[in-house]
C-alpha cells in the first residue's frame, strides 16, 4: 500500500456525510484499500507516475467564499452550477430546474433514483480513482431527463478552486441520466484561481437512453501546479448519440479517462479531444470504447501539441466484442512536437473479436511542416506567428466542430494563448 493510498482513506472520513450513500462509499473505500497500487509496470500507468500524490497531506477543504464570479467563466446562456472547492455555491448558481438536483438536496424519491443509477455506468472495480471519488464523496449533481424531455439551455457546471493554504482534495461528481429520446447539452469546466496545487478528482457518469442525444464538453485548463484525476463513463443505449469533446492543458499530473460502452444497437459515438501541455506539464488521456452490440459506430479523434519539456500520453483502445458485428470504428491520433525535449507516447489499440467490422486507426507524430511554415513566412508573417498559427490550426479543426457557438468563441483565444503569450503572435487568431 502506498502512503497516498492509506492517507486517502482519511479523506473519505473527512468528507461530509450523505448518510443514504454510506454503503456505496464504504464499498468503494474497501475496494480502494484492497487495490494493488500501480507502478510503472502497471500497463495503465506505464507512462504516468503517481509520485506527485505522495508526501502531501491532502485534506478536504471547508466552504470558501468568492468575491465575485471569475472572468474565466464562459459567457453562456445556460443553467449554471458553480462549485467552489467542491462545495456548491448557490450565490453564483442559477436556479435549478426540476430535472437538476444536488445530491445533498435530493428528495427521498430522487435519492432512490440516484441510488439505482449511481456507479452503474462507472465500473468502479476497474477504475481506481473512481473508487476514491466515491469513498470521499461529499456532493454531486444529478441531471435526470424523462422520456422526450429536451433541456432548453445547456447545463454548465463549473468547478472552481481558490487557495486555502492547504493541499486541497477537490472531489466532484456528475450523474446524467437521459431517458428515451431526451436531449441535453452539458459542459463541465475546471478552473483554478491561484497557483496553488489542488487535486481534482472528478467523475462523470452519462447514461444515455434509447434514441437520446447528449453533447458533453469537458474543459480542463487549471493551473500548472494542480493535479487532476478525472474520468467520464458513458453507456450508449440503442440509437443514442454521444458527442463528446474534451480539452486539457497540462499540469503537474493530469490523467483523464473516457470509458464508453455501446450497449444498444445503432448507437453512435463521436469523441474529439485536444491536449496542449507545455513547460514541464503532463497530460495523459486514456480512452476505452467497448462495442458490445452490432451496428454501432465510433469516430474518435485526438490531437495534441506538445511543447517545451512537456510529456503527453494518448492511449486509445477500441474493443469490439464478439457480438458487435457491423461495427464501424475509426480512431485517429495526431501529435505535433514543437520542441526538442517534448515527448509523446501514443498507443492506439484495437481489440477485435467480431469479424464483420470495419476498423481503422492511425497515429502520427511529427513537427510543424517546413513547407507550410515557409509558405506563411513568404507571405510576410513572422516565423513566431507562423508557428503559432500552424499549431493552432492543427487543433482548431476540432474546435470548429463544436456545436455550441459560445464555447468556440470562448475557446479560440485561450487556445491561441496556449501557443503564444505574446499578443503579437496570436492577434490574428483571436479576432472574433
Amino acid at each position: 500500500m502506498s502512503e497516498f493510498q492509506s492517507h486517502a482513506l482519511m479523506l473519505a472520513q473527512q468528507s461530509k456525510g450523505l448518510a443514504w450513500l454510506n454503503d456505496a462509499k464504504q464499498a468503494c473505500a474497501n475496494l480502494w484499500q484492497a487495490e494493488k497500487w500501480p507502478t510503472r509496470k502497471t500497463e495503465a500507468w506505464r507512462y504516468t507516475s503517481l509520485q506527485s500524490l505522495e508526501s502531501t497531506l491532502w485534506s478536504v477543504p471547508s466552504e470558501a467564499q468568492l468575491d465575485g464570479l471569475p472572468d474565466e467563466l464562459m459567457a453562456l446562456d445556460a443553467t449554471r452550477l458553480v462549485f467552489v472547492n467542491g462545495n456548491f455555491s448557490s450565490q453564483f448558481s442559477s436556479e435549478l430546474p426540476e430535472s437538476l438536483t444536488l445530491f445533498s438536496q435530493a428528495s427521498p424519491a430522487e435519492q432512490q433514483a440516484i441510488l439505482t443509477k449511481f456507479n452503474q455506468v462507472a465500473k468502479v472495480e476497474k477504475h481506481l480513482f473512481s473508487q476514491l471519488n466515491t469513498a470521499a464523496l461529499g456532493e454531486g449533481v444529478f441531471l435526470n431527463l424523462s422520456a422526450n424531455q429536451r433541456l432548453e439551455k445547456p447545463v454548465y457546471v463549473v468547478y472552481i478552486h481558490t487557495d486555502t493554504g492547504a493541499s486541497d482534495y477537490v472531489g466532484s461528481r456528475l450523474l446524467v441520466s437521459l431517458e428515451t429520446s431526451a436531449e441535453a447539452v452539458v459542459i463541465e469546466h475546471f478552473i483554478t484561481l491561484s497557483d496553488a496545487s489542488p487535486m481534482f478528482n472528478a467523475v462523470t457518469e452519462l447514461d444515455i437512453g434509447e434514441n437520446a442525444k447528449l453533447k458533453h464538453y469537458r474543459i480542463s485548463m487549471e493551473s500548472e501546479q494542480s493535479l487532476h484525476l478525472g474520468s467520464v463513463h458513458a453507456a450508449l443505449h440503442a440509437n443514442s448519440q454521444l458527442t463528446g469533446f474534451t480539452l486539457a492543458t497540462g499540469s503537474r499530473l493530469k490523467r483523464i479517462d473516457y470509458h464508453v460502452r455501446h450497449v444498444g444497437s445503432g448507437a453512435d459515438l463521436d469523441l474529439q479531444g485536444i491536449y496542449l501541455p507545455k513547460h514541464n506539464q503532463r497530460v495523459d488521456y486514456h480512452t476505452n470504447v467497448e462495442h458490445c452490440v452490432p451496428h454501432c459506430t465510433t469516430n474518435e479523434v485526438f490531437r495534441g501539441v506538445i511543447s517545451d519539456t512537456a510529456k503527453a500520453v494518448f492511449n486509445g483502445r477500441i474493443h469490439i466484442h464478439q457480438d458487435a458485428q457491423k461495427t464501424l470504428a475509426e480512431m485517429s491520433n495526431r501529435n505535433l512536437l514543437t520542441s526538442n525535449r517534448a515527448e509523446i507516447n501514443t498507443k492506439p489499440e484495437l481489440e477485435i473479436y467480431a469479424d464483420d467490422v470495419k476498423c481503422a486507426h492511425g497515429a502520427t507524430i511529427s513537427q510543424l511542416n517546413d513547407e507550410s511554415l515557409f509558405y506563411l513566412v513568404s507571405r510576410g508573417i513572422s516565423e513566431a506567428e507562423a508557428r503559432v498559427m500552424l499549431s493552432f490550426g492543427f487543433v482548431n479543426e476540432l474546435v470548429e466542430n463544436i456545436a455550441v457557438e459560445d464555447i468556440k468563441v470562448w475557446l479560440r483565444p485561450r487556445m491561441a494563448k496556449a501557443f503564444g503569450q505574446n499578443d503579437d503572435v496570436v492577434r490574428h487568431l483571436i479576432h472574433d
Binding site: 458485428q325 520542441s339 501514443t346 498507443k347 477485435i352 467480431a354 464483420d356 492511425g362 507524430i365
Partner: protein, 478 residues
C-alpha cells in the same frame, strides 16, 4: 557431473524414442547439475559454463511475463527435458555419409534438401535436430569466401573470442525470462561470421526440428556481419504432431557493423496443435539486432505454426542513418494464439524503420500485433512508417493491435496506420463466378493481402510460404 543425473540418463535410454533414431535425452528437470551436464556434453570451456550458470541464477530470480495477449496453462519448467541428441551423432559426423540414413530420410520428408547435389537453390543448410546441430552443408565453399557458418557449439571451441565478445551483447542474459532461460540451457544453433567487405556467396539457412517428446528446444543463433558485409539468412522450423505442448525458447542475436546488411527470414511452421487446440509448440523467442552506422537489418517472418507465439524481432538503430525493417505475416487458425510484432528503437540520427505487419485470423484463433516504435532524444530526423493490417476469416476469431509509439524528438516523424477487415462475401462470390472454389478464392485473397511481405522473401521460400498459408487455412471457410 552428478552421478544421479548420469544414472537417470542411463535409465532413460530405453524409453521415449519417437523415430527410429536413438536419442540421448536428459530426464526432465532443471537445476545447476543439468546445466553442468549440458556444458560437459559439449565439452565447453569453463567460461562458457560460468556464463550459463550466471544466466541460470538470473532466471531463478525472474518471473514469467504475463502481459502478452495469450493464455496457456502455467509451464512446469521441471517437467521439461533440457537436452536431447540423436544418439548416433554422439560423435559428430565428419561428412554426410556418416549421417544416420533415417535422419536424412526424416529431413527428406520435411523437404529439406540436405544433400549438396539436391541443393540447386544453392542454399547452405545447418540443420538442428532437437538440440543438436547435425550437419552443415557447403562449408567448403563458404570457407573460401572467409564466411564462417557452423554450429554455435563448435564456434565456442573454434572462435572463443568472437563468442565471448558478442554472445549476450544484443540480448543480455537478463533481458527477459525466456532469454535468461535460453542463456542457461541453450543447446545448439548456428553461428555466422561474415568478414569485412564480404558478400556472402549464397543464402544461409537453418532448419530446426523438435523430435523428442517433452523436450524443450533452446537454440541460439548469432550472426556477425563485419563492416560493409552482406548476408541473407533463412530459418525454417517444424515439429511432429504431439498431444503435449512443447517449449521452444530461442535467442537470435544479429550484429550489423557499419554499412553491413543482414536479411533474416523465418518460415515458422511449428506444430500448431490440432483442431481442438490440443498440443502444439509454445514459441517464446527473443530476436534482436543492432545496427551500427548506415547498417541495415531486415526481419521477414511468415508465421503459421505454434500453439502460442510470443515473438518480437527487433532492431536497435544505434548508428546514424541505419535502417531497420520488419515484414511479417502471422496466420492463426483453430485455437492458435499469436502475440507478435517488433520493436524499433531509434537512437541514431536519420535512422529509418519500416514495419509492415499482416495478421490473418481464422477459426477460433487470437492474433495480436504488438509493436514498439521509440524515437529516442537523440534520434534527430528519424522516421518510422508502420502499416499493420488484419484480416478476419470467420466470426469466432480475434484480431488485435497494440502499438506503442514513443517519441522524444520533434524532428522524428512517425506514421502508423492500421486497418481491420474481413474477407467479404462479395469478393468470394466474384471469384466463384469465375470458376474458383471458395477455398482457392480465400487463399488467393490471403496471398494478395500478404504480397508486400512475401516480396521480401527469397524467391523459393516465397512460394513455400504461399503454400504454407494455403495448408494452414484448410477448413477455415464453410
Amino acid at each position: 557431473m552428478s552421478e544421479q543425473v548420469e544414472s537417470l540418463i542411463r535409465k532413460e535410454y530405453s524409453a521415449g524414442f519417437h523415430t527410429n533414431i536413438e536419442s540421448e535425452t536428459l530426464p526432465p528437470g532443471l537445476n545447476e547439475d543439468v546445466i553442468r551436464f549440458i556444458s560437459a556434453k559439449k565439452n565447453e570451456p569453463q567460461w562458457m559454463l560460468d556464463w550459463r550458470l550466471k544466466a541460470f541464477k538470473i532466471w531463478q530470480g525472474m518471473e514469467e511475463p504475463q502481459w502478452a495477449h495469450v493464455k496457456y496453462p502455467k509451464i512446469d519448467f521441471q517437467s521439461i527435458s533440457y537436452f536431447s541428441a540423436p544418439k548416433s551423432l554422439a560423435d559428430r559426423p565428419k561428412s554426410l555419409d556418416e549421417v544416420d540414413p533415417d535422419l536424412i530420410e526424416t529431413y527428406n520428408k520435411l523437404g529439406i534438401p540436405l544433400h549438396e547435389q539436391e541443393m540447386l537453390a544453392g542454399v547452405a543448410v545447418d540443420a538442428v535436430f532437437d538440440s543438436v546441430s547435425v550437419v552443415t552443408t557447403f562449408r567448403g565453399k563458404l570457407e573460401e569466401a572467409g564466411v564462417i557458418f557452423c554450429p554455435i557449439s563448435e564456434a565456442v571451441h573454434k572462435y572463443p573470442e568472437l563468442i565471448k565478445k558478442y554472445m549476450g551483447s544484443v540480448v543480455p542474459q537478463r533481458d527477459n525470462y525466456y532469454a535468461a532461460l535460453n542463456s542457461a540451457v541453450f543447446s545448439d544453433g548456428s553461428f555466422v561470421y561474415i568478414p569485412k567487405g564480404v558478400r556472402c556467396p549464397m543464402e544461409l539457412s537453418t532448419y530446426f526440428r523438435i523430435n523428442e517428446m517433452n523436450t524443450g528446444q533452446f537454440e541460439r543463433t548469432l550472426i556477425i556481419a563485419e563492416e560493409g558485409s552482406h548476408v541473407s539468412y533463412l530459418e525454417g522450423c517444424t515439429a511432429p504432431q504431439r498431444d503435449e505442448n512443447q517449449l521452444h525458447a530461442a535467442v537470435v542475436e544479429l550484429v550489423a557493423m557499419d554499412n553491413a546488411e543482414i536479411k533474416y527470414s523465418t518460415v515458422q511452421n511449428w506444430y500448431p496443435g490440432d483442431e481442438q487446440g490440443k498440443g502444439g509448440i509454445y514459441n517464446f523467442v527473443t530476436k534482436r539486432g543492432i545496427c551500427h552506422t548506415r547498417a541495415k537489418i531486415s526481419w521477414t517472418q511468415v508465421e503459421t505454426g505454434s500453439a502460442v507465439t510470443w515473438k518480437y524481432p527487433s532492431c536497435i538503430l544505434k548508428g546514424d542513418y541505419s535502417i531497420g525493417e520488419f515484414y511479417s505475416v502471422a496466420l492463426t487458425n483453430n485455437y492458435q494464439q499469436a502475440d507478435t510484432g517488433t520493436k524499433m528503437i531509434h537512437l541514431g540520427k536519420h535512422t529509418k524503420s519500416t514495419i509492415i505487419s499482416k495478421g490473418i485470423s481464422a477459426g477460433k484463433s487470437q492474433n495480436a500485433y504488438r509493436g514498439l516504435v521509440r524515437m529516442g532524444p537523440t534520434a534527430e530526423g528519424a522516421r518510422n512508417y508502420t502499416q499493420c493490417d488484419s484480416l478476419l476469416i470467420g466470426d469466432r476469431c480475434g484480431a488485435h493491435t497494440f502499438p506503442y509509439i514513443e517519441s522524444a524528438h520533434p524532428s522524428a516523424v512517425v506514421e502508423h496506420e492500421a486497418t481491420t477487415s474481413k474477407v467479404s462475401d462479395d469478393q468470394l462470390f466474384l471469384c466463384q463466378q469465375r470458376g474458383l472454389d471458395a477455398e482457392k478464392a480465400v487463399s488467393m485473397i490471403v496471398n494478395g493481402f500478404c504480397r508486400e511481405v512475401f516480396k521480401q522473401l527469397p524467391m523459393e521460400f516465397a512460394v513455400e510460404a504461399g503454400k504454407l498459408l494455403e495448408v494452414s487455412l484448410e477448413g477455415s471457410v464453410g
